[in-house]
Symmetry: C2
Amino acid sequence: MVREALRRTGTVTEVFATGDATVGYRDLRELAAESGVVWYTVDDETIASLSQTVTPQVVIAVCRFLDVALDQVLAPAPSVVVVGADVRDPGNAGTMIRSADAAGAGGVILAGSSVDPYNAKCVRASAGSLFHVPICHGVEVVAVLTRLAERGYQTLAADARGDVDLDQLIDSGRLARPTAWLFGNEAWGLPDSLQSLSDAVVRVPIYGRAESLNVATAAAVCLYASARALRPG
Amino acid sequence: MVREALRRTGTVTEVFATGDATVGYRDLRELAAESGVVWYTVDDETIASLSQTVTPQVVIAVCRFLDVALDQVLAPAPSVVVVGADVRDPGNAGTMIRSADAAGAGGVILAGSSVDPYNAKCVRASAGSLFHVPICHGVEVVAVLTRLAERGYQTLAADARGDVDLDQLIDSGRLARPTAWLFGNEAWGLPDSLQSLSDAVVRVPIYGRAESLNVATAAAVCLYASARALRPG
């Protein structure tokens, strides 16, 4: 995680590490030095007081905020963006950011009452992808959907009650267009008002007896369907 | 979760609920009565002492163990089974069970040093699917792979270093055969010895800069690729 942060120019302001980690993570020290980031070697108590996990991390990077405005996410015209509407669980939000990165989505918008991307659990679940993918947060869901429509995106809302199933959507060829995938809250899904603002409400087909998928899992399945449809060649 | 447990005949031995829940969950009380399960209405302190979550659940079902022997999982000749090799995180294991259920896999084998399926976090992450899908645990990974080969399954190991990518695998038509998907530990993936016992080592393609996917997420993407390949018609 610290490596990914250091690789992103201008992100890390300072690094704190134990004596052992300072010796052991020579590559990180070199990365820090190259970027002019100060590296402090501190005692275990100091590290423990900075860490939020039961087993303290041995290297801690202090970073600037990373989030950008919605128009900045959309400026490079990414083919796929991810919108979380009231995604509250930090593990889910972080996993969504990681999957968005893996599937080549160009940005993640944590809209409405979605969890703060800087929540420690979200940061950890993102496994470094927070430093790879442009993130926007603290924006109103309807405002996001309006802007996406203006920019020519189709909005596909993922919901267990959707009227199109993902297989039909794949077969239809619709995934080859610029797409914003919209995912809702863990407990109550997407309200009707947001579903009706979307171009289609898509359900991941359930072949067994599960009622639904975890939202981060559903997001990965949908984003990989888009990635496959958009593969060059 | 209690509803799914009650629907599975012979699973629940008794139910404890608060007074409010006893009034509010009439459908659960009826389900319990139909199955001859005793329903105890108890005070909040009793419920809190039985619950492991910070906010106690209001209905608690005591269940028999659910796991079955490997041959029992394989007896109905499911088209797809999931094998976890040393999957340690209970949230990941539970999410894998939920995704396996959703994608129509016929069983989940938590092999090697994988987490106990009765771990409370695993149970919760499975969102009821623990009661839908046959589960086997406490078996040696190599013994499982041997048995699967004897039964005619191809074993596809999912690993970020795999030499076949999932898209190639889909295009090759190989997913239409009876398949055991093998997933490894969160931190170190699948050891070479297990990869070499598999028929193919498959990587989920990474389109962005993420190093890998969360193991439960990768499992969902692979299982849905199999489900799509096995769709009737």
